[in-house]
Structures are given as C-alpha cells and as structure tokens.
C-alpha cells in the first residue's frame, strides 16, 4: 500500500464533506493567524515604545524636585533655608564635574512655562516653553529643521529669541516661513530663530507643541528667578546612565545636606531604566497576546478531534468494508491521521497567509512587526496539532472490529 493512495483516500474523505472540512480548517486558520498577528502587534508596540524613548534621547537623565522631600526636611538640622528644597543653577553647574561625576557629559537647567504666542492675529497656547541652555537640544535629541538653535551668547545676553516646534509653527504661521519673524509671547516680542524637526506624538501628548528659548530670557519675562523646574543631564553614553545617576544623586545629596537615611528632595529619572521597564512591560504584553492566540489554536485543535470523531462514526461502515477487503490497521490509521493533518496543515498555511496579510494593517495604532519565529512555530504547531488531535479518532477507527463495523448502520 503506497503513501500516495493513503493521500488519495484522505483527500477524497475531506472532499466528501467540503463545508465541514472548511469550517474545521477555519478553526486552525484563526488560531495560526491570531498567533502570528498578535505576536507581531506585541512586537510592534514594543518597537514603538523603544522608538519613542529613542526620540527623547537614550543618554538622558532628568533631575526634578520631589514633593516627598518636604517631609524629610523636618528631620534635617543643618543647611540654609534657601537651598534646601529648590534646584538651583548652582546645583546644575555642580553636576558637570570631571572628578565626582566622570560619566556626566553636560547639563542644562530648565524652567518651563506655558505662555500664549500671538502672530499677526493668530494665537496659540504653547503647551511647553522651555527656558534652557543650548545643550538641552542634544541631550533631548531635538534637531533643527530650519534656521538655527539658541546659542550660549543668546543665554548670556538674555536675547528674546525662540525656537519653535512644528505644531506651534503651523498654528501661527501656516505655510509661511517663521524664521526671522517676530512673535508675541505673553505680549513680549521674540524673534523666531529656527524651527524644530517634528517628533510626532508620544502617547497622548503632542511633542511638537513645544518651544525653546534661552534660560535667562524665560526667567526674565515669564517664570522669574526662582527654583529650576528641572535639570537635564546628558550622560556620556547610554550605558553610562546608571553610573551618572549615582553620581548625580551623591552630588545633590551632599549639596542639599541630606543624611544618607533621609528621603531625598529630588528625583533622578533615567530614560534607560524607563526603557528597560517598558520593554519588560511590552514583553509581558507580547507573551499575553501570544497565550491568548495559542488558546484559540488549541480550540481549533479540539475542533479537529471533534470533527474527526464524527467522521469516524459516520464512516464506520466504510472502515468495515476496507477492513474486510484486507486493509491493515496501519492503513486505516494512516488514512484518518493524514486527513486530520491535512486539515490542520491547510488551516495552518491559510493562517500564515491571513496573519501576514493582517500584519500589513495598523492594529489599534500599532504597526505590527512580524516575528519570523512565530510563523515557523505556528505552522509547526498546527501540523503537530493535526497529528496529536487526529491520533485519537484515527486510532479509534483503526481499532474497530470489522464485523461490528460492517453491521453498523
């Protein structure tokens, strides 16, 4: 008995009940397609988070005040009142220290405001105006689209210049070139020096509803000369961020006269650790999606068992005839097993196709990224499912007694 004949019988068996075969195949198709698509979505969202963090700058550390520090201050008996909780310009400058902070490349003090900009009748509330040093741009990965960035000279002279993000530019100037124009920021005239390249939205915020001006200018006209909102620190490399974080913590702890046990009144945010956290989150997310898809694949497999059991019962008489004519047990087993495997393989192949087509679309705002291993795995698993879930009904068919099978009506 040749293998070709086994295939011919199995194929004829499947063709005898096309609708049923198609529906069973559909179960596997959905399972395999879901595995490929959902794993790709998980991977895609991971890649998206990674890209967002890359946009912010991977060498970046942000030092900000922490509200929790107020409670800790009561236990402190040393230090001057003025420098206890505020982040000062002196704090910022102390962070660039080749001896105590060898991993810090540069720093930029930051004050923020949310002023209203007006130009030729158009008004726009800038979500975030940052007053800072030129180093801010490299640390946070901003590129200049047109014109030029702010300079150290601008800072020292407190020039009223501004570099605006794309959203601000479009709102105020439309298609016109904003470089060199005068805008009113809270009624103070500023000259637009340049525009920033678009970063797109990250999450809910529009990263481009943004503007940068010299620190001194913003303090002069908008925020006043109080505490800094933030100090942005650029580490020497992405791998040096953790070391830089420790150095910053120790410098600021001693500058703020904090005891080792007291909770600090500042917080150092490390983009790299944020990246690690979010990538482990998206990994969990991917695994979860994969598990859900795997369950649907399992359900498809049970569908195969179910339908093959029905088939075997329905075709008991046929099995009896074949056995009476001399079909050995192995031939019957092979026929029904091949039927089950064909169902699952056809379903698997169509599922791969469906999954690949599905990943061409954006799913819930995520551009799926195909994981080749998931395709191989899903396809292999579908073949194994055919073997595994088909073996029980096929074995039942092979074990039928010819006399009883022939008598079956």
């Amino acid at each position: 008995m040749r293998f070709r004949e086994v295939f011919r019988f199995a194929f004829a068996g499947l063709r005898a009940n096309k609708l049923r075969s198609a529906l069973t195949t559909l179960g596997i198709l959905i399972g395999v397609g879901a595995v490929i698509l959902l794993v790709a979505v998980g991977k895609g969202s991971g890649a998206q988070v990674q890209a967002n963090i890359d946009k912010l700058g991977t060498n970046l550390l942000e030092v900000s005040r922490q509200a929790g520090g107020f409670g800790a201050r009561a236990s402190r008996n040393t230090g001057t009142q003025s420098s206890v909780s505020a982040l000062t310009l002196a704090d910022a400058q102390a962070l660039v220290d080749p001896v105590n902070a060898p991993d810090v490349l540069d720093e930029a003090p930051v004050v923020t405001a949310s002023p209203t900009a007006t130009y030729d009748g158009a008004t726009h509330q800038i979500a975030q105006l940052v007053g800072t040093y030129p180093a801010y741009l490299t640390a946070t990965n901003w590129q200049i689209a047109e014109g030029s960035a702010i300079t150290d000279d601008d800072v020292s002279q407190a020039r009223k210049v501004i570099v605006i993000g794309q959203t601000v530019a479009t709102d105020l100037f439309g298609t016109a070139d904003p470089v060199g124009q005068q805008v009113m920021i809270n009624s103070v005239p500023y000259t637009v020096e340049g525009t920033l390249q678009a970063k797109g939205s990250s999450g809910l915020q529009d990263a481009d509803d943004f503007a940068i001006a010299p620190l001194t200018t913003v303090q002069d006209s908008l925020s006043g000369f109080g505490s800094l909102s933030q100090i942005v620190v650029q580490a020497k490399s992405a791998s040096a961020t953790t070391a830089a974080q420790d150095e910053i913590t120790s410098i600021l702890t001693s500058r703020h006269h904090l005891s080792a046990t007291a909770s600090p009144d500042f917080r150092v945010l490390n983009q790299q650790s944020l990246l690690a956290t979010s990538s482990s989150t998206t990994h969990t997310f991917t695994v979860l999606l994969g598990a859900v898809a795997a369950i649907s694949l399992l359900v498809g497999g049970i569908g195969i068992t179910n339908i093959m059991l029905v088939t075997v019962t329905e075709r008991t008489r046929e099995i009896g005839i074949r056995k009476a004519l001399g079909a050995p047990r192995a031939a019957i087993l092979g026929q029904f097993l091949v039927e089950a495997v064909m169902l699952s393989l056809i379903g698997g192949a169509l599922g791969v196709a469906a999954g690949l087509i599905g990943t061409r679309f954006t799913v819930a705002g995520v551009k799926p990224v195909i994981v080749p291993a998931s395709i191989a795995l899903a396809f292999a698993v579908s073949a194994l499912i055919g073997l595994f879930f088909g073996s029980f009904p096929a074995n039942r068919a092979a074990k039928l007694h010819p006399i009883q099978a022939l008598r079956h009506e």
Binding site: M1, L325, A331
Partner: protein, 246 residues
C-alpha cells in the same frame, strides 16, 4: 471432486461469546472440508450459527477452539494484521448489502482490494477493467454506486471479490436485497464463475438460491445437521462430514 486439494478445512470449530455464566455457544464443533472448485451453500435459520461460521471462514473472526486451514494456511491464531493480509489475498467477499464505498466509482471500488495488496496503478486499472467486463458492466465503470441499480451494484461487488483472484469467494446472502430478476442475474454469474473453476461458498436461507450450488450444508444450533451433494438423482448425503445434532 473429492480428490481435489481442500480450500477450507475446518476441524471441530467452536465459538463461544460472553463469559462463563451466560456464555453463548454459537458454534459447537463444526468440521467441514471444501475442496477447490466446490460450490457450497451453507443454510440455516437465523441463530443457527451460519453468520458466525461465515465470519470465521472469512477470517473476520477467529474461533474460540478448533483448527482452520485456509488454502493450507493455519489461520486460527493469526494476528489482526495477518488476518487482514489473508482476507486481502485469499478471500473475495460479496455482502447482502453490497457494501460498496459511496461516492466512489465502480472502477475505484473494484480497485480497492488491489490497492491494499500493493498492486501498481496501471496493473490495477487493467485488472479492475477486466473484472468489470467479466460481470458485464464495462459500460458503467465510471458510475458511482448511487447511480447503479441493486443488481448492478451487486455485480460490481462480485467483480471486486474476483479481482484479486482469491482462493475463495464468500457470499453472504448475496441476493437478499435484490428482486427476482436481479437475483437470477447474480446467481447466473456465480454459476458461471463456478464453471470457470472458482471455489464459492454461499450463505443463504433461500432454497431456490441453494439449488444453484453443488452442495448444501445445513446448520442448526451451531452444528451441521446435513451435508448433501446435488447429484443427478437429487441431493445425496455426504455421510463422512455429517455431525448429528444432539
């Protein structure tokens, strides 16, 4: 006839179903020799054990005790796989309800035992065509069972039984589901096969069907009660194989 090599040699065959307490003795010691070329009708009322005997002769079942030589092969202790092989090579079945595969052409149905015998495609096709020609169905080779009359279906089944050139053709009530015209067609076919030298065993409860055979064996309560040969002067008892009831 009596000098021919036997195809079937049954010695004290017993078959018991069930356990000690409520055991059913379907066969209680059947001994029977069927020589090559013989044309035997096994008769008996339902419950006489003729179906059990037919299953054992057809290697679909094994006896509880006793010895069965089929074409010089001892079959009573063969495994399932070996029994399948014996069924395939040595026995051609014809069933009361035809038992053709549905949705499968006459030609494919006739080819089926050859497939399990491992015969190549071209050879298979040739032999199946020849068998269908022999039963007079060369015009209907590509018809499916549901497109054929009962008589035609049974002739396809006979062709299927013939195609492997088995030592024995075993027919279980072959005319049970047929009208009288189709019955005589099918019986004429068996008569023709007998004249061509085939060994045929018919299981039947109809006397006019048994009349076609050369020899009639009657079963009652699991034992042979008469064994007669259809001679020129009517039925003559074959004393040496008879076992009397009780």
């Amino acid at each position: 006839m009596g000098t021919q090599r036997p195809v079937i040699e049954l010695t004290d065959i017993r078959k018991t179903y069930g356990m000690d307490g409520n055991a059913v003795h379907a066969l209680r010691g059947v001994s029977l020799t069927v020589p090559t070329g013989d044309y035997v009708a096994i008769m008996g009322a339902s419950g006489s054990g003729k179906s059990t005997l037919m299953n054992i002769i057809g290697c679909l079942d094994v006896p509880t005790t006793g010895r069965y030589l089929l074409d010089d092969v001892e079959v009573e202790h063969l495994s399932d796989r070996q029994l399948a092989l014996v069924r395939n090579r040595k026995i051609g079945f014809v069933f009361q309800s035809f038992n053709l595969l549905p949705r499968t052409t006459a030609l494919d149905n006739v080819e089926l035992p050859l497939i399990y015998a491992g015969v190549g495609t071209a050879e298979r096709r040739k032999r199946a065509r020849a068998a269908l020609e022999l039963v007079g169905l060369s015009e209907r080779m590509n018809h499916k069972p549901q497109e054929l009359s009962g008589g035609q279906q049974q002739r396809v089944a006979v062709a299927r039984a013939l195609v492997t050139a088995p030592s024995l053709i075993l027919a279980d009530e072959p005319t049970g589901n047929l009208d009288s015209t189709s019955s005589s067609d099918v019986m004429a076919l068996f008569d023709r096969l007998h004249r061509a030298g085939r060994t045929i065993v018919l299981i039947t409860h109809e006397h006019d069907i048994a009349e076609h055979a050369e020899r009639a064996i009657r079963l009652m309560d699991g034992q042979i009660v008469s064994d007669e040969r259809n001679g020129e002067r009517g039925w003559i008892s074959e004393q040496h194989t008879v076992r009397h009831a009780r």
